[in-house]
Amino acid sequence: MYVAVKGGERAIDNAHDWLAEERRGDASVPELDVAQIREQLSLAVNRVMAEGSLYDPDLAALAIKQARGDLIEAIFLIRAYRTTLPRIGHSRPVDTGAMACIRRISATFKDAPGGQVLGPTFDYTHRLLDFKLAAEGETPRAATGEGLASEMPRITDFLNREGLIQDEPPCDDTPPDMTRAPMEYPATRALRLQALTRGDEGFVLGMAYSTQRGYGRNHPFVGELRIGTVAVEMDIPELGFAIEIGEITLTECETVNQFMGSKTESPQFTRGYGLVFGQTERKAISMALVDRALRWDELGEDNEGAPAQDEEFVLSHADNIQATGFLEHIKLPHYVDFQSELELIRKVRAEAQEAARQEAAE
C-alpha cells in the first residue's frame, strides 16, 4: 500500500547550499569572474550561445560559471532565460558575403580570390599539452600583416557562373519558427536549419560522421568555411528605416557535394549549408553535412533508410535540452509508478508459479 508523502525541503535547501560551496571549490584558489570565462573560455561560451540559441557572451559566461562548466546545464539556463525575453522583432537576413573574416578557407579552390586565411585555428597544432600554460606567462602577441582582401567572394559563386552547382535563389518568405510553433513534419529546409543550428554539437557531429561512413553518403567537400563578424540589421517601424542593432560572430560552412543527377535533376554539384553563432566550425561543418543528407527527397535521391536521411529522427533528437530533460526525469521519484509495476509483477509471478505447481501435480 502506497501512502502519499511530501518532504525533502530541508534536504533540498542543504543540497543547494552544498552545491554553491562545491561550485566555488577550494577557497584558497582565486575565484573565476564572468569576464575571465568570456575571454578565456570563449569557445565554450560560443557553444552555449549557439545551442542556447541566444547571442549574449556575458550571459553565456555567467551560465557556464553557474553550471560549474557543465555546458548542457549552461545551455539549459540560457534557454530558460531566453523564454523570459519579450520578442522585439526579427533582423533582416544577415549578409555573410560581407563578413569581416578572421578565417576563410576553401578545400576546393587553392587560389580563391581573397586567399586562404587560416585565422586562430587549432588545425596545425600538434595536440601536445603545453605545460607553459600551467605557469603564469607573458601575454602572447599575434603577428600582424597587411593586404587582407576587403572582399571575400563566395566560392560557390565561381561554380555558379558555369551553372555547375545548384543555385540558391533569393526569396523573402517568412521562415517558420520552432520557438513559436510546434515542429511539423515533413519540415521545410528553413525549419531544419533552425533545428540543426541549435542542435547538440555531439549529436549533429555523430550524424554527419555517419554520412561519411556510408549511411547516406553524399561526397562532401568543404567548398568554403568562413568565420568572422557580421552586422545585424533590423527594420525599426517607428523610424521607417533599418539600423544596425549589433554585431555578431558567425561560422559559415558551405559544402560542395557530388551529385550524379536523378530523375528530376541534371548532374551538377549540390550544396549543404551550415551557419552557427560564434566560432564553432566543427558544428557548422557537421550541420552542412546533415543538411545535405536531409535533402535527399527534394533532389530525387534514393532513401537508403540511413538515420541521417530521416528528418523526424534527426530533428526530434538533436535538441540536448529536450533529450536531457526526458532522460534525467527518470531519476526523480516514480514511487507510485513503480509501486504498480511491483504489484503487477508479484501477481504475474504468483500466477506463473501456481500454473507450474498444477502442471507438476498432474
Partner: protein, 151 residues
C-alpha cells in the same frame, strides 16, 4: 536622394554606431558631458530578444538562426526631439545614453556630440576592425609551386 533620405542615412549611421559601441566606452565618453537636457520617457528601457535570420546557402531563403539580446528605449527632450536607443546586450543605461545622443544629434549640439562621442567611437571601432584584419592577413597562406613532374 531627398534631404529626408540624407537625414535618415546620417541618423542610421550614428544609431548603428551607438548600438555596436561597448557600453563602458560610451559611458566614459559621455562622462565629460554635464549639461544633459531634460527628457520624458516615451518607452522606458526594456531588454528583449531579436530573432536573427540567415539565408540558406548565404543567398537563398531566410531561416531563423537564433536570438540576440537587445535593449531599447525612446524618449522626448523638453525641446521636442525624439530619440530612440537600440543597443546590443542588456545594459539599460547604455540604451538611455544612445537614445539621448540620438535626440541631441537632432539639435544644435550635434557637432559637439560628433566630436566628443561619435568620432572617438568610430575611430575605436575602425581600429579594432583593422587590428583583426591585420592579424588575419598574417595568417594568409602563400603557396609555393614545388618541382613539377611534367617539365
Amino acid at each position: 536622394m531627398t534631404a529626408q533620405d540624407d537625414q535618415n542615412e546620417a541618423r542610421k549611421g550614428w544609431m548603428s554606431l551607438l548600438a555596436k559601441s561597448p557600453a563602458q566606452r560610451l559611458a566614459d565618453l559621455t562622462g565629460e558631458i554635464t549639461d544633459w537636457p531634460g527628457f520624458e520617457w516615451l518607452r522606458p528601457p526594456e531588454v528583449g530578444g531579436v530573432m536573427v535570420r540567415g539565408r540558406t546557402g548565404g543567398t537563398g531563403a531566410p531561416f531563423n538562426l537564433g536570438e540576440m539580446t537587445v535593449t531599447r528605449c525612446a524618449l522626448r527632450l523638453a525641446t521636442g526631439e525624439v530619440g530612440h536607443g537600440y543597443v546590443q546586450g542588456r545594459d539599460k543605461a547604455h540604451a538611455e545614453r544612445a537614445a539621448l545622443i540620438d535626440a541631441m544629434m537632432q539639435t544644435e549640439r550635434a557637432e559637439e556630440l560628433r566630436r566628443a562621442v561619435l568620432d572617438p567611437l568610430e575611430t575605436q571601432l575602425q581600429a579594432a576592425k583593422a587590428s583583426r584584419a591585420a592579424r588575419a592577413a598574417a595568417t594568409k597562406v602563400d603557396f609555393f609551386t614545388m618541382v613539377r613532374g611534367e617539365d
